[in-house]
Structure formats: structure tokens, C-alpha cells
Symmetry: C2
């Protein structure tokens, strides 16, 4: 094989039609923006915006203010703040004045205290990259499963660099009374959302967060202050945080013992199942996408676990017969979205793509069948909308058809 053939072969690794024409087309490249260049308006110079050609957006839940992150369009591990998912029972308060906002800490403390935002910012701060995931993420929906995209199925998980003061630092200022073992966190929006947090978590890595991806927390993420309980159900990361009450038992709010309790087959509910399990998903190719044709396609996706750092992601392209390790190019951070990449040459035949992850504790993302076994139910149980299915983290299969279309195949395997 001569040199030309060798380099040609290297080119073909990535599939036919990847790169185009030879010289002669230079004019196209040179001329294209000569006429269309426009000056940047002054407001965009102060605070920039994306190109008007970029249309990726959050999508909406049925008749609710809730939105999903377009995971299929994202790169890296940081979710742009403008695209962070929103899940709330009320509406986002847009008018909280940080000068007026206060945090009250009271209950079983030596000194009940009220903090201004400026006072909270005087404490030593920390910045950490963490995901937040809604407990209902990936839950079976009423739509036709095969038409579902990764955005609507997995888009209630997002990842930011959060900055704030550790809750432990502030609780030390208040002084804890003997026996203090739980706290209640309460929001300042109209619905007064409140959730219980264990003191163990409060003194571990819980954070009073006022920064997100470098700037202030966004209104729909709790501006000016949210509670961050890394790795725990999103619903416990209380937004627009205004009050923390310290006590000696869980506060049994209506959400934690009602709406968000996992109701099981025997009619019993599992309460305080608060840590998010290991989960991964292939974001490209994924449901609703269309492959241009056989050849090279990089498979990429995200993995995360409330249990800590992702140690391994495996990918199968043959419906689960063989699994191979994906690349984890990093950063690989505890309780953070972790990017994986896997090279794949599609031969044009039907294929089922899946990923599964393992976290630092050795917890492995289960298959749908394994998850059903853990729950003690038939797999069909998860499909029935009258059953409350949360903390649902089975391996996600995407089926690639011969025409290049990609469909959700969760119920087919």
C-alpha cells in the first residue's frame, strides 16, 4: 500500500462523505461573510448573547412551568445556565431583590440569626461542579415511548459550577443544640416549598449557593440563594431559600411523605429515598435523531451518580451482547455530569445502543429487568401511569433503524 492509499484509508475511518472537495472552492470560504458582517450592538458588548442561528432551547412539560435541558445539543459537562432544567410547583419569582432577601436560621440553635446576602458572602466560600437531577427524571411518560427524545426523557438533569458558603460554616455561627439532627429548608416563592434535610448532610457538603457558572444563581434556579445538597433529589435543593429550621426529627412535609414517596405494589410507600442512583445515557445518537448514513459516528453521552465519582462507563452497540469501556476524557468530578465518548462505525444494519455506568462505591446502573427485580415487580409495572415511578435509572436503549432513524427502545429489551 503506497502512502496515498494509506492516508486515504485513514480518511475513510471516519466514513464516506465526511470531508469534501479539494482546492478550487477557496472562494466560497473567503467570500461568505464579506457582505453579511454587522457591528455588534452596545448591549451585546456589555453582556453577550448567542448567535441568532443557534436555536437549541429548553422544552416544556405539559401545561406546567417546567422545562427540560436539551442534552442532545450540549457538549462537555457544564450546562449553560440559560438551559438548566426547571422543575417547580409554583412559578419562578422574577422580582426577589437581593438587598431585601434574608435567610433566617432558627429552631434548635444557640442563637437564631437572620443573614443578609452580603453577610452570607462574607463567609469563606467554595465552588464545586455538581449535577442537580429531578427525582422524576427519566420516569415513564404518557407519550408514545418510541418517539421520545433524550431531552424529554433525561433532560431534568443539569450540571453547573456552584459557589456559596458551606451550610456547616453558617450552622457553626448559630451553634447547634444537643440532639439537633434534622433541618427544614423553606423557599420564598408563593408555594412555600419545604423539605427535610439530615444534619449529617448539612454538616457534610450541603451549600448555601449564590453563584452558578461564575455569575449569580439564575432566577429559575433560586436567585439569590438556593440550598445545594449534592447528589440528592433535585426537590431537596430548595430554591429562593429563606428559612432553615433546626429540629430533632424529619419534618414530614407533604411532598416528602406524599407526592414524592415511592409507592410500591403492596400499597406501601418508601420515604426518604433521597440519593440519586448511578445513571448514564447516550445523548448522541439518541431518540428522534437521524444518522446521515453508514460510517463513523462518535457515540457520546453523560453519566452521573449521587454516590460520588463515576469510575466506569461501558457501551454496547449490539443490544447488550458485548460491552466495551467508553473513554472518560474528564474532568471526572464527584456528583457531577461526566462526559463519555465511544468511537463507532455503523455498518448500516439495525443496532441497539446502550450505556451503563459504575460509581466509586461500585454501584452499577441496572437494566430494566434488574430494576424490576429490585422493586419486586414486572417490568410492565413501570409503564402504568397510575404507579408512581421515581428514582428510575435503568439502562437506556436507543434503536438505530436501517434508515438511520433513532428511536427510544426502553420497552423493547
Amino acid at each position: 500500500m503506497n502512502k496515498k492509499e494509506k492516508t486515504r484509508r485513514r480518511f475513510l475511518q471516519y466514513g464516506a462523505g465526511l470531508a469534501g472537495l479539494a482546492v478550487g472552492g477557496i472562494g466560497t470560504a473567503r467570500g461568505q461573510t464579506a457582505e453579511s458582517e454587522a457591528a455588534q450592538p452596545k448591549n451585546l458588548r456589555s453582556y453577550g448573547e448567542r448567535s441568532r442561528f443557534e436555536k437549541t432551547a429548553r422544552t416544556f412539560g405539559d401545561g406546567s412551568p417546567n422545562t427540560f435541558t436539551p442534552l442532545q445539543d450540549l457538549d462537555g459537562i457544564i450546562t449553560p445556565s440559560s438551559l438548566h432544567y426547571v422543575f417547580t410547583r409554583g412559578i419562578t419569582p422574577m422580582d426577589i431583590d437581593p438587598q431585601q432577601h434574608r435567610l433566617l436560621i432558627h429552631g434548635m440553635v444557640e442563637r437564631p440569626l437572620i443573614f443578609t446576602m452580603a453577610e452570607l458572602k462574607r463567609f469563606p466560600a467554595v465552588s464545586r461542579i455538581h449535577f442537580i437531577e429531578c427525582v422524576a427524571n427519566t420516569a415513564p411518560t404518557r407519550g408514545r415511548a418510541e418517539e421520545e427524545r433524550v431531552q424529554e426523557r433525561f433532560g431534568k438533569s443539569s450540571c453547573s459550577e456552584w459557589t456559596g458558603v458551606l451550610l456547616s460554616t453558617v450552622l457553626k455561627e448559630c451553634g447547634l443544640q444537643k440532639g439537633a439532627s434534622w433541618l427544614l429548608a423553606e423557599s420564598a416563592d408563593r408555594v412555600t416549598h419545604s423539605m427535610s434535610i439530615t444534619m449529617e448532610k448539612a454538616l457534610d457538603d450541603a451549600m448555601l449557593a449564590y453563584g452558578q457558572n461564575g455569575e449569580a444563581v439564575r432566577p429559575d434556579q433560586g436567585y439569590p440563594l438556593r440550598l445545594l445538597v449534592p447528589g440528592w433529589e433535585g426537590v431537596r435543593n430548595v430554591k429562593w431559600l429563606k428559612r432553615i429550621q433546626v429540629g430533632d426529627k424529619p419534618f414530614m412535609t407533604h411532598i416528602e411523605i406524599g407526592t414524592n414517596a415511592s409507592l410500591r405494589k403492596d400499597g406501601k410507600a418508601r420515604w426518604f429515598n433521597i440519593e440519586m442512583g448511578p445513571k448514564s445515557v447516550i445523548t448522541r445518537p439518541s431518540g428522534g435523531q437521524q444518522l446521515s448514513g453508514p460510517g463513523f459516528h462518535e457515540i457520546t453521552g453523560l453519566a452521573w451518580s449521587g454516590g460520588g465519582t463515576i469510575k466506569r462507563v461501558e457501551v454496547t452497540t449490539d443490544g447488550g451482547r458485548t460491552w466495551k469501556d467508553a473513554n472518560l476524557p474528564g474532568p471526572i468530578l464527584p456528583k457531577a455530569h461526566t462526559r463519555f465518548r465511544f468511537p463507532w462505525n455503523w455498518n448500516g444494519e439495525e443496532a441497539v445502543l446502550q450505556s451503563r455506568c459504575t460509581d466509586e462505591r461500585g454501584a452499577v446502573q441496572p437494566s430494566l429487568l434488574e430494576l424490576a427485580k429490585i422493586w419486586g415487580v414486572e417490568p410492565s409495572y413501570f409503564r402504568k401511569t397510575e404507579n408512581s415511578v421515581i428514582h428510575f435509572n435503568p439502562i437506556q436503549p436507543w434503536k438505530v433503524n436501517r434508515d438511520g432513524s433513532v428511536k427510544n427502545a426502553i420497552w423493547e429489551v
Copy 2:
């Protein structure tokens, strides 16, 4: 000392007046948003915005389209894309259609090729967190030095999570001819900015970047495609990249041998001084800020080096007599902004705060006097505006006056 006194003392660690009143004020916290809550408009649900109370913004250079990042307001290591500094010789083209944009690679290659954006995105991708810093960052300005803020002095450095294809991957597709050792990168904006890059860098970590902080590269950062040469002068990270020409010697563009060459005392210029040296700066407290009074103030700032990973940041609060290690809470990544934090109790007397960093190669950020020695000049040389001062990375002193005001003291030490 009884328990109450103990916790009281812990409280006082952070200075008097940090946290406020005891119970009784609950009403303030509860009532504050009851009337002011407003629904979030639909466009903000698709793509969110910051609170209207947040005003931090890029500031402008004199009569130019260039802007500075408000480092004093940022947290963590990620610069929000809307606040990334901009330095350009032309104006930001706002109308480049990614469907029409092409990258031509030609010159000493086996196969000259033209790539569409879709083709570039078919290649295996990487995501990496890197700073970009303008070669003129921190250069002495014409303004009154003592009034300068960190934004205008250091705000031509920003840090993003970049995604793209390694240039080495794409060059392999084209096939390099024997002797190919340099390349020219050229922009698609009106001024046709072009710079030389060594083949060594091109085959190391240079990237064709189309993603920034999760979404598409912003227009003012080169949408839809920029060259990323991590750790090198910002000016070589060519934006709106349309053409790469491979050759066997540097292309000697007017910027690299004229404008951006370091002119020395003897009239000679230093060319191709392309890697950014180790630099750090305290962003809070910094020039133009006002301390509320004696007591606890956390010192925080950023350190970075084109030479790789930051290994150490030291802080002095007594004008350089004693230095102590700052905390590096991480993430600590190669060629990325690295956050440092340092606890400080201000006694109300005059103080000079400085930071200095050391990178993985052992390169230490020099003092102004040390830098003058390296250049073979008197320190006053750097103040003269007729001298071209770039790659200027001396230790930055901020002077805290008795009234709590903070001033730039670069020329005082």
C-alpha cells in the same frame, strides 16, 4: 469559658457585624416576596436570563470594540460566556451562517480539503477547560494607576469549557507533506486576521473549537469555529476560522512581527514569545473596592499559566514580608484559571495584599523588580506608554487604606 462564650467566639472569627438580629424578624423574611412575584415569560422559559438586579458587565476599552471581564464579580473558575473578554482588531461578525461556513486546509498537505461544520462535528470530539488571555493583558495603561480596578487591569483573561476536534485529528485527514512545520490560521471577519502556529502545537493540544460552556461558541468568541491554542497568546486563538495553510516556515504576519512583537530598549524586538507566563491576581479585595470595616475578609483570586497546571499560590498581607500558601479548592486543571482562597482578618491598619503563583514547571510569577531585571530595564521603563509592554505578569499589589478603600499599588513597591 462556657459553651455560649465558645460559640460566640466562633462567630466573632468572621468579624463583628457579620450576622444580624435574633428572632422577631421572621416576618421580614417571610413577607418580602409575597407581592412582588411575577410569572416568568415564555421566552425566558425557553432560554433563561439573569435577574434584573444583576448588573455586572463587561467594560469597554477606549474607543474600541474591546471589552474586559468583570473578574471582581466572578466566582469559581468558569467565566460566563456573556462576560468573556473580547479583543479584536475589527468588529464581531454577527451574521456568519454555520450552514454556509467552511474551513479550508491547504498548502503542504497531501489532500487540500474543505470542511463544513457538520463534517467537523463528525470527528471524535474533546472538551477541555482552558483560559484565553490577551497578550496585552495587565499592560500598563494611560489611566491613573491607583484608580485602576482588576477588571481593566486583568480582565483580558477568561476561562471556558471548550469543545471541538483536535487539530491533529483533522490534519491527519489531510495528510502532511514532508517538511511541514508551520501553519497559518486565518479569520473570516473583515480584517482577515492571521497568525502562525507551530506544527508541534498543532499536533499537541490545538483544537478546532465549536463549543463553549456547553453550547455553541459565542459570536464574539469566533462563532461558529475558532482555533484554540491552549496557553498561548490570545491573539493566536484565531476566531471565525476559515483557512489553515500548511507551510515550512512561520508566515510572518504583520501582527506577529509588528504590533505584537516585544520591542526592547535596544530597539530590537522579540518575536514569537508565544506562551503566556504564570500569573495570578487577587480579585477580592481589589482596586476600587471598599472594605466594610476591620474583621474577617476572605481573600480570593485566580491564577493561571500557559506552562500547565498551577501548583501553588502564595499570599502576603504585609507587603511581602511573609508569604503563606493559599487554598486551591479545585478543580485544578492545566492551562485553566485556578481559584485560590485565603482567610484574612483585617486589623484596620494599612495593608498591601499580593499573590504569586508557581506552575508545574516550577516557573514562579516574578515581582516587578525581578521582571525588570529579566527584561534588563528599570521598573520605570514599564510605565512609559511609548514602550511596547506585553507578556507583563508581575505580582500585583493592592493597597488597603485605613478607610477600607483599596487601590492599585503596582508602582509603589
